[in-house]
């Protein structure tokens, strides 16, 4: 091989060099290292001790851990369907050429670009039981006495869901909007000629043709919901009475507050396993409902 030929063969790897290092150190490699750490007991200061499956067994036997799992699953089960359906509804609402529509689209996107910390601070004020806006509106508009929200074990998690859905809506809306606009208009004309009403057009044209987009939004929303961290950190710190500790917050607590690296890594792997299984199931099930024209 000529010198130029050798260079040509190696050239792609030069372009990929930063990415390969990143994969090795910060993602794929770190995933493997984390797996090893999860079999140890380690406070970072003294050397790690190999403990086989002790961390996992301890988790299995810990009531708190199961509560954390329940909290996480409840959060996902509430946040994902709400986010996806509300974002689709919004996309349908803004999928129109009426005057001023871009102003509305921009407005709906504002929470997306704001930091979760600022958003969470705003909402913790809105959720204030006595002086907050939300309970005031509930009282005035519906005559209902609102709960203590973030201070109530039953309402703190739903409050977190509200903030999460509100903040993420605009993002999914834009993806749905792009999906809606890529549906050929002729199909709607044809359906109308065949006598389909608005609902039938939505059910038999929009939904099937939008299904790849819906699938994408669903997967992304689910992954994000499983990783919920900042909402807990700012709104509740896991309380009241551990009712809002999620898996990801539990990893953070164990690693960086209690310095139990082994246990933290084990929890992180449980989270990873949940994500992996759920995403795999979604990819399996998609064949039944996602329509790739």
């Amino acid at each position: 091989m000529t010198r130029a030929g050798i260079f040509r063969a190696f050239e792609p790897y030069l372009y990929l060099f930063p990415t390969l290092i990143g994969l090795l150190l910060f993602s794929a490699g770190a995933v493997a290292a984390s797996f090893l750490v999860s079999f140890t007991q380690w406070d970072i200061i003294s050397p790690p001790e190999w403990k086989w499956f002790d961390n996992y067994v301890d988790l299995w036997r810990s009531d708190l851990f199961w509560e954390v799992v329940r909290n996480t699953l409840a959060f996902v089960a509430l946040a994902v369907p709400l986010s996806v359906s509300a974002a689709l509804a919004l996309a349908l609402l803004v999928n129109t050429g009426v005057r001023g529509i871009t102003v509305f689209r921009t407005a709906y996107f504002l929470p997306v670009v704001s930091s979760m910390i600022a958003v969470a601070l705003i909402w913790s004020w809105i959720f204030n039981p006595q002086y907050g806006l939300l309970n005031y509106l509930l009282r005035v508009l519906f005559g209902v006495q609102g709960p203590a929200w973030l201070d109530d074990t039953r309402w703190a998690l739903p409050a977190m869901v509200i903030v999460t859905v509100w903040k993420g809506l605009g993002y999914s809306m834009v993806i749905f909007l792009a999906g809606l606009q890529s549906i050929p208009q002729d199909l709607y004309h044809a359906a109308t000629i065949d006598g389909a009403g608005a609902w039938k057009r939505f059910r038999h044209v929009t939904l099937p043709l939008l299904s790849p987009t819906t699938f994408f939004v669903l997967v992304i929303t689910m992954i994000n919901a499983f990783q919920v961290f900042e909402q807990t950190y700012v709104l509740t710190k896991g309380g009241p009475a551990n009712s809002t500790i999620t898996l990801s917050y539990y990893v953070y607590q164990n690693a960086f507050q209690f310095f139990q690296m082994g246990k933290a890594a084990a929890v992180a792997y449980v989270l990873f396993a949940f994500l992996f299984i759920v995403t795999l199931v979604q990819f399996r099930v998609q064949k039944r409902w996602v329509f790739y024209g």
């Binding site: 050239e11 792609p12 994969l23 750490v37 996107f109 809105i126 002086y131 005031y136 990873f272």
Partner: protein, 275 residues
């Protein structure tokens, strides 16, 4: 008859939703200008009695805002440069070059999008500790220089849409690969590069988990961590001050967004649609 009615209905809904989405921000601004006594009233006041910026002055005394702003800005800007550069290089290789392991590598890279940061954060923390980078901005900036799945995917999608003829012509003229990449492909990809830059800047500006893990001293704190500490340490109910802080932290990113909003929207649409 039916059409105007439906248009009116749509506007009503649009305005209602806009109230839900923008209302909390207006409430934030309004609260930030109220006296401490005025925020604890039932029924709540909608507007401050008179425009009052003393909460902003108070928060500047409480927090080293200038330093925090600078830290946030340094991290976000450096990380953006690193991400755009490293992702563009990798994306070009994936879009235009043949090499061993092409498919597998691309798949592995995309699969890393599924890895929750909680899984990698402990080993990465140990690496940073070994490098002596705890409580330095390097811990947050340097990883950005080593590529990323989202950015590589976004740019690869875009590079693939650039016609090959241009590059072929340059190659016949004796242009090397890197010059083609640098002088032809990158300038043509400005929309995608701007989109990625905006997204990266926003993500790092708004990030809380990274600063919480790595930055402990006050001099290194970012705006996000400053706000979080303000809330948890001193004044859990001083909403007047907290809202003033929130306004200051949100303002730069809102300006950036409104200036570059078409890039945001286009970028999201680009990732949502498969080729």
């Amino acid at each position: 008859m039916a059409r105007p009615f439906r248009t009116v209905l749509r506007y009503l809904l649009l305005v209602l939703v806009a109230g839900l989405m923008v209302g909390p921000f207006l409430w934030m601004v309004s609260t930030s200008m109220m006296d401490q006594a005025d925020i604890f009233r039932s029924p709540p006041r909608w507007f401050p009695e008179r425009l009052n910026l003393k909460n902003y002055r108070a928060i500047m005394d409480l927090l080293p805002l200038g330093g925090m702003f600078l830290n946030s800005f340094t991290i976000a800007l450096s990380a953006t440069v690193g991400q755009v550069f490293s992702c563009a290089l990798a994306a070009y290789a994936f879009a235009r070059m043949k090499f061993r392991g092409h498919v597998v590598l691309y798949f592995v890279l995309l699969a890393t999008m599924m890895i929750p940061p909680q899984v990698t954060m402990i080993p990465v923390f140990l690496i940073m500790k070994a490098l002596g980078w705890i409580d330095t901005l390097y811990a947050l900036i340097v990883p950005a220089f080593f590529g990323g799945a989202f950015g590589t995917f976004l740019l690869r999608q875009f590079f693939s849409t650039i016609p090959m003829d241009l590059e072929d012509a340059a190659r016949i003229d004796g242009c090397g690969r890197f010059r083609i990449f640098w002088r032809i492909v990158l300038p043509l990809s400005r929309p995608a590069l701007v989109t990625l830059a905006l997204f990266t800047f926003m993500a790092y500006w708004n990030d809380l988990l990274g600063p919480v893990i790595y930055l402990s001293s006050v001099g290194k704190a970012t705006l996000t961590i400053g706000l979080a500490n303000l809330q948890s340490d001193v004044m859990i109910t001083r909403y007047d001050l907290l809202m003033a802080g929130s306004v200051l932290s949100v303002l730069p990113i809102l300006i950036l967004f409104i200036a570059g909003q078409r890039w945001f929207v286009r970028g999201i649409a680009m990732t949502g649609l498969k080729e």
